[in-house]
């Protein structure tokens, strides 16, 4: 097995496939993309993640050629692609609505792009058959789009956009119309296909779980700017701001004032009458600076008895329990009214649980469990 980790973004010698340089896009007085620079590398599965209206779709449409940036430069394989019209770009897009041609069969939909290239008939047939096999649609080749299911339509759209073997495939909320179960299966299928074809994928999504599952790197966007670009685990474990921490997964945010104890160790005064918290940070904080400690619920332990040794221990009452089957999330209210969430795996039967609504419990976590954020 190849043990080298796929991380071209860490190699300074590597040339990016796509390069946004100070790109700004304005619609009238509204700034959709604000002076944004970003590199995406070959064979990446790159996710643009953010709430609706954050500019992620505009980024994708600029790559496809449907929007022209107001200023800045977009390069594909070293060449400026801004003056190139969509039909001359080596990119293909899978549309959110799939945009299958209703008057053509599945086969003709997939062959559409190849016909425009003027590909020979034998080669084209082989390519379409290959795409049908890849997306497991052989049986539906002769059907029209309205005669197949949503999941099948999604695969036709994927096959059609992959048929021309684009340098870059753009996926606009590709799984948005599918139900939760089908979506999960399809996510793995997408990753599989991406690996098999070696195509660079850029996916736009508002679903953080989807981005975490499929992407090699995620760009979290807000109001036309990149907030953080990193691998899924870094985005989750070391978010750069409260916005990112809050957008990705569940999180407890505790606001307080810092005091340095010794290098990298801080004491955080956060509420009257509560013991100060302890947290570690590689980023320096000034004395008395406001900071936000972000702690993931699964890193907070809950127990009926006071734990012997822990960096942070607080006491509270169980306010709510969200039972998810495999996991339970406890909402614990502290004496000052702060609510802290704790998540544990239900490794024992629920009848054995030693606390329930209203019980007094102890929450504890280590100094390195949380991340200290300045904003």
């Amino acid at each position: 097995m190849n043990s080298t980790v796929f991380a071209p973004w860490e190699d300074p010698e590597k040339k990016p496939l796509i390069r946004f340089q100070n790109v700004t896009k304005k619609f009238g007085t509204f700034t959709a993309i604000d002076n944004l620079s970003l590199d995406i590398y070959e064979r990446e599965f790159f996710a643009l993640l953010g709430p609706s209206g954050c500019g992620k779709t505009t980024m994708m449409r600029m790559l496809a050629g449907f929007e022209t940036p107001t200023s800045g430069r977009i390069e594909l394989a070293g060449k400026n692609i801004i003056p190139v019209p969509p039909n001359k770009r080596a990119t293909n897009m899978m549309f959110q609505s799939y945009a299958l041609f209703p008057h053509l069969t599945v086969w003709d939909n997939i062959a559409f792009g190849l016909r425009r290239e003027g590909m020979e008939k034998d080669k084209m047939n082989a390519r379409v058959e290959e795409m049908l096999r890849l997306t497991r649609l052989e049986r539906f080749a002769k059907r029209k789009p309205h005669q197949i299911s949503g999941g099948q339509r999604q695969r036709v759209a994927l096959a059609r956009s992959l048929a021309k073997a684009p340098t870059l495939l753009l996926l606009d909320e590709p799984l948005g119309a599918l139900d939760a179960k089908l979506r999960q299966d399809t996510q793995f299928e997408l990753m599989d296909i991406q690996e098999k074809t070696g195509t660079t994928f850029v996916i736009v999504t508002h679903d953080q779980e989807e981005a975490m599952t499929v992407a090699s790197r995620i760009a979290v966007m807000d109001e036309g700017q990149l907030i953080q670009v990193a691998t899924p685990d870094r985005i989750y474990e070391t978010p750069v701001s409260v916005y990112v921490a809050d957008f990705i997964g569940d999180v407890n945010i505790i606001e307080g004032k810092t005091t340095l104890i010794e290098d990298g160790q801080y004491q955080i005064d956060w509420a009257e009458g509560q013991m100060p918290l302890h947290a570690a940070s590689s980023q320096p904080f000034d004395k008395g600076q406001t900071c936000f400690v972000a702690i993931r619920p699964e890193k907070v332990a809950i127990s009926a008895e006071k734990p012997q040794a822990a960096d942070n221990i607080v006491q509270g009452k169980v306010l709510d329990i969200a039972y998810l089957g495999n996991l339970s999330t406890y909402h614990v209210e502290l004496a000052d009214g702060t609510i802290i969430k704790s998540q544990t795996a239900n490794t024992r039967r629920i009848a054995r649980r030693s606390f329930t609504w209203g019980d007094t419990v102890w929450l504890s976590w280590t100094a390195t469990a949380g991340v200290m954020l300045a904003r």
Binding site: N87, H103, G113
Partner: protein, 272 residues
């Protein structure tokens, strides 16, 4: 709800009688044996025979057909282009004004349209004949086509065109290969509508025509002033037939298309 009542039955009968008795009388008397229009003398199709031997009527029919085909084709092209631009161009200054101006001729009295066109043709020194009637009919029929086509384009998913561009079509190819086939039923029913409108028109045609180009409605109108002949009845019956066929075809096409679209949408909804 839909209970039968005498009131409903009577109003329905009167309503339809009011609409259709004149036409039934006309159609019936076109099969009259007698030359006198008001006296029934037995069934005969001889006036249809007479009609097809009358060179003046045949010439007029030929003029009308040519005018209808050319003007409806022109109107369809122009009307589709206008609808496409108004729906697709997005917001530009004066968009509302433009779309209002497209629809205004729908409610403009024919007399005014006819007179305006007449003045224009005289102004530019165009000899009045088949060409001027074609132009006049194109002018008023294209509004109808544009209404029909733009209502279809309004529900057209624009990402279909973007997908075509993305897959390597030039904008013209995207229109020809994707947009046009999908909106074709609306375009065809627009053409049929334009065709029947042109076939029907008397007022605008009589303003804009010249001595060389007498259309059927004009011919009928002038013939009737000398007295109604059974020949005219026969001719009118044929025209009723053609217009009815046109209107029914247009509505069947658009109805079927609507049903299919709804079924596809339902299928799509189910599939999710």
């Amino acid at each position: 709800m839909n209970r039968f009542s005498w009131f409903n039955a009577v109003s329905l009968t009167f309503g339809f009688a009011f609409l259709y008795i004149p036409m039934i009388i006309l159609v019936t008397y076109s099969f009259n044996e007698s030359k006198l229009v008001t006296v029934w003398a037995g069934f005969s199709t001889k006036w249809y025979g007479e009609l097809f031997r009358d060179q003046a009527f045949l010439d007029a029919a030929w003029v009308t057909l040519r005018v209808a085909v050319f003007s409806s084709t022109l109107a369809t092209i122009l009307g589709t282009m206008a609808a496409y631009v108004l729906i697709r161009a997005g917001r530009f200054t004066g968009r509302t004004l433009f779309s209002g101006m497209i629809y205004a001729p729908l409610v403009m009295p024919d007399v005014i349209t006819g007179l305006a066109l007449l003045l224009l043709f005289i102004g530019v020194g165009l000899d009045r004949g088949v060409l001027t009637v074609v132009l006049a009919h194109t002018t008023f029929a294209m509004c109808y086509v544009s209404v029909v086509v733009s209502s279809r384009l309004a529900t057209f998913d624009q990402s279909l065109e973007e997908a075509a561009l993305d897959l390597g079509c030039s904008p013209a190819q995207a229109f020809r290969l994707v947009t046009l086939p999908i909106i074709a039923p609306a375009v065809i029913s627009g053409w049929l509508l334009a065709f029947t409108l042109s076939l029907d028109d008397l007022v605008i045609a009589s303003f804009t025509t010249g001595p060389s180009a007498t259309t059927l409605p004009i011919k009928i109108f002038s013939a009737v002033r000398l007295g109604v002949s059974p020949e005219i009845n026969a001719l009118s019956t044929i025209m009723i037939g053609i217009v009815t066929a046109g209107v029914i075809t247009a509505s069947v096409i658009s109805k079927r298309n609507m049903v299919r679209q709804r079924r596809e949408e339902q299928a799509a909804a189910r599939a999710q």
